[in-house]
Amino acid sequence: MSNEERLEQLREEAWHKGIVAGSGVDVAGGPIPKKPGYYGEPVVRPPVWTWEIPLYFFFGSIAGMSAVIAFGSAIFHHTGLAQSAMWVAAIAGAVVSPLLLVMDLGRPHLFLNMLRVFKPRSPMSMGAWILTAFGACAVPGSVALELHAHQIFPGGLDQMLRIAAGFFILASAIFGTLLATYTGVLIGATAIPAWFLHRTLLPIHFGAAGLGSAAAVLELFGQRIPPLNFLGFCAAGVETALLIWLSIDKHGVADRAIHEHRSGWLIRIGEVLNGPLAIVLRLLGLIPFAAISFLIGALVSRFGWIAVGRVSGSDPEAVFASQL
C-alpha cells in the first residue's frame, strides 16, 4: 500500500470515528485532499435546533389555523365548533408552542429577551412577536367565547363579551395565519441551500399543512361537518401540488438533501401522507383516517425539513452549487 493510500485510509478513519488507531505514515509524496471544499468541512453551519423546533412548527401552525377556522365558524354561527377551535388555538398557541420554543433556547431563562427589540428584518423576531400577539388574543378570545356561549352574564355584559370574543377571534385569526406561515420564512431566509432555494414553497407548505392539520384535529375531536372536510380536501390538494412542485423544481447538487438521504425520505413520506393519501382516504369517506394520515404527514415533513437543513448545511458542495 502506498503512503497516499494509507493516509487516505487514516483520513477516512478519522473522519468517521473521530480517532485513529494504528501507526501514522510518512507524508512524503504529498497527499492531496480528495474531499470537496476544505477537507469536506461544512461551509455554512447546520441548524443547532433539536426536536422541539419541528414540533413547534407543527403545533404553532395548528394553533394559528384553528383560530382561522374559529373565525369562519363564528361568522357562520357554528358556535360549538368555534369554541373547540379556540380552545385548540389557545392551548396549542399559548401553552405548548411557547414551552417548546423556550425549551429549545440555549439559555431558556433569557427567553424574554426575545421581546427586547422589534426587528422586521429578522423572521425570528417577527415570529416571537406574532406568537406573543397570538397568545394574547387567543386566550381572552376563547374565554370570552366560552362565557358568551354559556350565557354566564346577563344582557348588556353578555353583549360586551360577544363583541370582545368577536374582536379577539378576528385578531387571533389574522395573527394565526402569520403564525402558521412565518416559520416557512424563518427557515427560507437562511444560508442553508436546500432551504433558501425553496423559500416560496415553504410558507405555502407550512400554511397549508397547518390548515389541514387544524381541520384534522377538530375532526378527530368529533366535529364532522362538511366545511372541515372541504378544508381537508383543499389542504391535501395543495400538499399534492407541492409534492409535484418539489419533484419538478430540482436544483441538482444544491438541494439534493431534499431528494436523497434519510432527510429526503422524511420529506417524501410526509408529503405522500398529507397529500395524495389524505385525498384518497377522504374520497373513500374515511375521514378519521384521512385526518390521522394528514397529521402524521404534517409532523413527519416538519422533521423532514429540519433534517434537510442539517444535511444541506453540512454539505459544502451544496453551498458551492447554490452560488454558481
Binding site: V20, H78, G106, N113, K119, M124, R199, T200, L211, L324
Partner: protein, 288 residues
Amino acid sequence: MIGDGVQSTNQRRHNYVQENIEVGFFTDPTVCIGCKACEVACKEWNQVPDDGYNWTGNSYDNTGHLGASTWRHVMFLEQDRQKGSQIVGSLGDEEADDPFRWVFLSDVCKHCEEAGCLEACPTGSIVRTEVGSVLVQNDVCNGCGYCVVSCPFGVIDRRPKPLPDHGGAFKCTFCYDRQKSGLVPACAKVCPTESIVFGRLDDLRARGKERVQQLQELGYNDAWLYDPQETSVGGLHAFFLLLGEPEAYGLPPRPQIPTIYLKSAWTAAFATAILSIAATLLGFALFS
C-alpha cells in the same frame, strides 16, 4: 508596515474606537508560517474554552473549523499546484513534474459589511461597534440559534454543554475590549510574520491590492483578494488574500446575506395567509 517595528499598525496603540474609524483584518497566506500563535493568543486573551483535542488527520490542522470556541483557525491546504515561481520537481526518481504547495491561512469571522447574524438576531444581542465590527453581547444572547443558520460563512455557533457559558452564540469579538483600550487584537499582535494585519480598513484594502500586484509580479498568478463587495454581503472587514479558488478554503464563492430572501418568502407567506382565510370562509359559505 513590515519593518515599522512598534510603529506598525499591528503594534502601536490607537484610538480607532474613540474616533469611530472603520478597522479590519487583512490576512495574507503567502507569509503565514502556520504557527497557530493567533489561535493560541485568541484563546488565551478571550478565555475561550477548549473544544476537544481531536486529531483530524487533515494535514497539520487539528482545529477543523471556526466555531463557538474557535475564533481563529489556521487552515493547512495541500495542493498539487505550483506556489509562485517555485521550481517543481519529483520527489523520487521519476521524471514527471510533481508540483506541490502547502498553503496556510488564518481564518476568522469576516465582520461583514452586511452581516447575516446581526440581521437575524431577535434579541438585539448582536450589534455593530464603532469600528464597524460585529459583536455578540454574551449577556443578552438567549441562544435561539438563528444566527447560526444565517451566517453565509458558517462562523458563529452556539456553544454546547458542558463548556463554560454554554447555550450562547459565540464568535470572534475583534477583541473589542482590547480595542477600546487602544490595543491591537490579540491575534494580530502576536502574528510573527504580519500575515494578520490589523489597521484602518481603507489602508488595508489599498495594502491588499498592492500585495496582490507584488505577488503577481513574483509569479503568483492565482493570487487575488477575497472580499466579495459585489454580492449582498457588501464586502468584508476581515478580508483575505487567496491563492486559487475560494472553495478550497471552504469559503463560499458568492456569499449572500439571507435577508435578500425575505421579500419572496414573506410574499408567499402573506399570500398563503390571505388564501387560507378565503378558503375557510368559502368552505363555511358553501357547506353551511
